[in-house]
């Protein structure tokens, strides 16, 4: 089936199998491997991308369902060399170990902050509870998101 999607600001026309998962389309066809796969039961969130600005687990939908929509992956979050404030905050607070969950964590957090510029710790915990991290124990991730949100409150881009 022919689909046309906007990926990270770029229009892409593609011919995909109807049963192809969005995550496989992103990783195998678009070669955007920053979107990871950690499970086959839609439980881990490593595959999270933004679809029209909303965080979705890209393993839970078919590529054809993204037709005519905007997809943002981790690769599209930074503007050239300039990192998104969440990415900078994850660096400053050390919000990762192996980093395999990180792109998904950051995409979910981006959606969280777009809905709630200054979430409480409780809201952060609930907001990213669908994303699993087996390495960090989460505290450093929560600190990173708090850092990004306070940066925003401080008026930084």
């Amino acid at each position: 089936m022919k689909i046309s999607v906007n990926v990270n600001g770029r229009n892409v026309d593609a011919d995909v199998e109807p049963r192809k998962l969005l995550v496989d389309f992103i990783r195998d066809d678009l070669h955007l491997t920053g979107t990871h796969v950690g499970c086959d039961t839609s439980s881990c969130g490593a595959c999270t991308v933004l679809l029209d600005g909303v965080a979705v687990k890209s393993c839970t939908m078919f590529a054809v369902q993204a037709n005519n929509r905007n997809i943002t992956t981790i690769e599209g979050l930074s503007k050239g060399d300039e990192l998104h404030r969440l990415q900078s905050a994850f660096i400053e607070e050390g919000g990762l170990q192996c980093g395999y969950c990180t792109p998904g964590m950051i995409m979910t957090s981006a959606w969280l902050l777009s809905n709630n510029a200054a979430p409480t710790e409780e809201e952060i915990r609930n907001g990213i509870s669908g994303n699993l991290c087996r390495c960090t124990g989460y505290d450093s991730i929560i600190r990173s998101i708090q850092k990004a949100s306070s940066d925003r409150r401080g008026g930084r881009k």
């Binding site: 990783r27 955007l32 491997t33 920053g34 979107t35 990871h36 796969v37 950690g38 499970c39 086959d40 039961t41 439980s43 881990c44 490593a46 992956t73 981790i74 690769e75 979050l77 930074s78 990192l83 990415q87 994850f90 660096i91 400053e92 050390g94 990762l96 170990q97 192996c98 980093g99 395999y100 969950c101 990180t102 792109p103 950051i106 952060i124 915990r125 609930n126 990213i128 509870s129 669908g130 994303n131 699993l132 991290c133 087996r134 390495c135 960090t136 124990g137 989460y138 505290d139 450093s140 991730i141 929560i142």
Partner: protein, 761 residues
């Protein structure tokens, strides 16, 4: 040689991970992300029965299926077709028998993953089923079927000291208890994965998950009969390991696929496969009998530790030694008897998992210690402090204690924890609050086995120093920690340093990333490499400056003549390069060992130990049996802290894996030995809503032999978690749990029983 003035202090600074930018922008290529032109997809055909003799296996149909390039069985293996880091008892591809559900029987390479998967239907195996052994008790029955010809006991060890009978006779209080712990899965987010190819020089290059590139190389060359110079292994970067990628996982399978197809091959385990075919933490059964005097001094400790190693031994013997090592805590116990038994069952495959037997041993002894203190009406920390060995005293395994000072400090500091002051009143009548303590020990390194590590530094004239070592960075941050050590030693800014990690083609053998050893051993080997760099470059510098070597000194990346003229190591490197001299220097370090090893023990006693004291605040819901950890205060002696941020991260990491182990995580098998819960929906790892508030303090301590005083931090945080939680639950509801996990059904059924309400089994 003097290190001179440093421009800044790299040790103790929270340097950012060297690869963090690529991790946050999504550009880092993990093994699951790698691809090559013309690449084939490998899949593993696995047993769908648990214990059986293989009458015959027919793969002819599979070979003729569309897109199939190879179907490989044991007949395609020329070498010994066996692996196992200590004893090679596991077949690479099974041929006469299968011993666990999911054991590899054949490999398929196809043009597409779908074709390779489909070809599994073209393989027929005729099994003669054998009875399944599901636990330690069944394995040890007189009439138990044998999993291996040599019986179901893989190892027996016994260590005795003093006069046990006398110790118990002289005791005021003796408790006799049984403890049971369960199997835990690593559940790293990236499953075992890799890509291999044959290069134009005929070398098989394997980029694959793992913790010990050189160790795999040895195992692969032995199993498949490949000359060592025809094989290269790379283990970086990868999505978590925790011990589950320590022994061989898919390394040999992938090499065999490349060897036979001569094409690039990618192999990624599915989550289910990783669950059934991958490793897990040993279940344990520990009988413990401990006696104390009226004034609270240990008199005797008798332990029998049984571990379920599953179908093969892997790291089992070392894990058993470690459990035996910690079963006396670090307490002054004059009379001991510690017996260990490693038992085969058909429960998959146990191996290394963060803590490596210490969490099991700790669970038993620290529950016991808490119960003894309670019965004696002593403060649980004072009781531990009273019995904790002083440096210089002879410990339970017969060696002078050398590093418990930090443990004394940690326990003493824990007495000042904020958590002692928190009200024990629950928010609702059925919410009970409790506070528990546990004291953990985890040895650093391999114990009595000779362990020499090699690492290298190379000066590149353009202004870089590269560090080469094989301790894989699977997320713990060893790339960064090691560079901080090099930065400190050479006085070179971090920006001018690079690592080459876990690549057998370029890195000397630093050993594996395990046993909390990488910082200690690899760090020291790098320091030694830097010493050699300075020693070799000094006369070259003198030659360049036309002075005597004795007239110059090294500091901050340059040699300085007394009158102020100087030459940098980069200039020296280009000077040396012009004369055809190499500027890569290999250093080594031999891990110190205890003076008196114990005959037969291969992993214990260890020379250096990390310590951790954990206070846990819990809430127990009396209606549901839910145990919720509310706060952890962790006091750790890991020696000098190289990088506070990364060390904190390792502590948070281990504490939360320990929380999962204690409460929600339990790998289970059905009556036929098939694993029941191998994915994230059925096997519950902690999520953000489960975690307590965590406070971590590092005590001021220095390990004399460690690099800049460091020990190791990877494992100690997980060790005391489960026992600290059961002790907290006792404080909350007055019940002792001697079996893990503290799952709601277990906790609520015990509470019902306690109230005299009978519950259905």
């Amino acid at each position: 040689m003097s290190e001179g003035q440093l421009i800044y202090s790299a040790i103790g600074s929270s340097s950012q991970r060297v690869d963090i930018r690529e991790k946050v922008d999504g550009s880092l290529k993990y093994f699951t992300d790698m691809k090559m032109d013309g690449m084939l997809y490998g899949v593993v055909f696995r047993s769908t029965v648990t214990h059986a003799r293989i009458r015959s296996m027919d793969v002819t149909k599979a070979i003729s299926m569309p897109g199939i390039r190879a179907v490989l069985t044991s007949r395609d293996i020329k070498g010994m077709n066996a692996y196992g880091v200590i004893v090679p008892d596991a077949p690479v591809l099974a041929y006469d028998k299968v011993r666990f559900y999911g054991e590899p029987l054949a490999l398929i390479a196809g043009d597409t993953l779908e074709q390779a998967e489909a070809a599994k239907d073209g393989i027929k195996v005729d099994y003669e089923p054998l009875p399944v052994i599901r636990n330690i008790d069944e394995a040890l029955k007189n009439d138990a079927p044998l999993i291996h010809n040599n019986g179901n006991i893989a190892r027996s060890m016994k260590v005795e000291r003093g006069d046990l009978a006398r110790g118990f006779k002289d005791s005021y209080l003796v408790l006799d208890r049984d403890y049971r712990t369960h199997m835990q899965k690593h559940m790293f987010l990236e499953t075992e994965a890799g890509l291999g190819y044959l290069d134009e020089k005929g070398v098989i290059n394997i980029f694959v998950s793992g913790q010990g590139a050189h160790s795999y190389k040895g195992q692969i060359t032995r199993a498949l009969e490949i000359p060592p110079d025809k094989l290269r292994i790379v283990n970086y970067p990868e999505g978590g390991a925790f011990g589950g990628k320590d022994d061989v996982t898919i390394q040999i399978l992938l090499t065999l696929l490349v060897m036979k197809t001569k094409k690039p091959v990618k192999l990624v385990l599915t989550r289910e496969e990783s669950g059934a075919g991958g490793y897990h933490r040993h279940a344990s059964l520990i009988h413990l009998k401990t006696g104390v005097s009226k004034d609270g001094r240990f008199m005797a400790n008798k332990a029998h530790i049984l571990l379920d190693t599953g179908a093969y031994v892997s790291f089992g013997p070392s894990v058993l030694d470690t459990a035996m090592e910690v079963i006396n805590g670090k307490y002054r116990i004059p009379n001991i008897s510690v017996e260990g038994t490693l038992v085969y069952t058909n429960n998959g495959f146990s191996s290394a998992f963060r803590g490596f037997g210490a969490p099991q041993g700790n669970f038993a002894i620290e529950n016991m210690v808490d119960e003894l203190a309670y019965e004696l009406k002593m403060d649980p920390i004072d009781f531990r402090l009273l019995n904790l060995l002083q440096e210089g005293e002879i410990n339970s395994f017969g060696n002078p204690e050398r590093d418990t000072m930090g443990a004394h400090v940690a326990l003493t500091e824990a007495k000042g924890s904020r958590l002692w002051k928190i009200s024990k009143k629950g928010s609702l009548p059925w919410i009970k609050v409790g506070l528990g303590v546990s004291f953990g020990v985890k040895g650093v390194g391999y114990g009595p086995v000779k362990d020499v590590s090699y690492a290298a530094v190379e000066v590149i004239p353009s202004g870089l120093v590269k560090a080469f070592f094989s301790n894989a960075d699977y997320g713990q941050g060893i790339n960064t920690g090691h560079l901080q050590i090099v930065a400190q030693k050479l006085g070179i800014p971090f920006e001018n340093l690079r690592t080459v990690n876990a690549d057998t083609a370029e890195c000397p053998d630093t050993g594996s990333s395990d046993a909390s050893r990488s910082t200690f051993t690899g760090g020291n080997a790098l320091i030694n490499a830097c010493d050699q760099l300075i020693e070799v470059m000094k006369p070259e510098a003198a030659r360049m400056m036309k002075v005597q070597p004795t007239e110059i000194s090294y500091a901050d990346g340059k040699f300085t003549f007394k009158e102020g003229s100087e030459v940098s190591i980069f200039d020296i490197a280009s000077f040396m390069a012009k004369e055809g001299k190499g500027t890569k220097f290999i250093g080594s370090f031999e891990m110190p060992r205890v003076a008196k090893p114990i005959e037969g023990m291969i992993e214990a006693p260890r020379f250096s130990n990390a310590y951790g004291v954990l206070l846990s605040l819990v809430e127990v819901n009396e209606l549901t049996g839910l145990v919720k950890a509310k706060a952890f205060d962790f006091y750790a002696d890991i020696g000098k802290v190289i990088n506070p941020l990364l060390a904190l991260s390792q502590c948070e990491s281990g504490l939360i894996q320990g929380l999962g182990y204690a409460i929600t995580e339990e790998l289970t098998y059905d009556v036929d030995g098939k694993p029941l819960n191998t994915n994230y929906t059925t096997y519950i790892v902690p999520s953000t809503t489960d975690i307590p508030s965590i406070d971590v303090r590092f005590v001021d301590a220095v390990e004399k032999y460690g690099p800049y005083g460091a020990k190791g931090v990877g494992e100690i945080p997980i060790v005391p978690v489960a026992s600290s939680l059961t002790n907290a639950v006792h404080d909350a509801i007055g019940m002792r749990f001697r079996e893990l996990p503290l799952s709601p059904p277990r906790v609520s059924s015990r509470m019902q029983q306690n109230k005299g309400i009978s519950v259905l089994a």
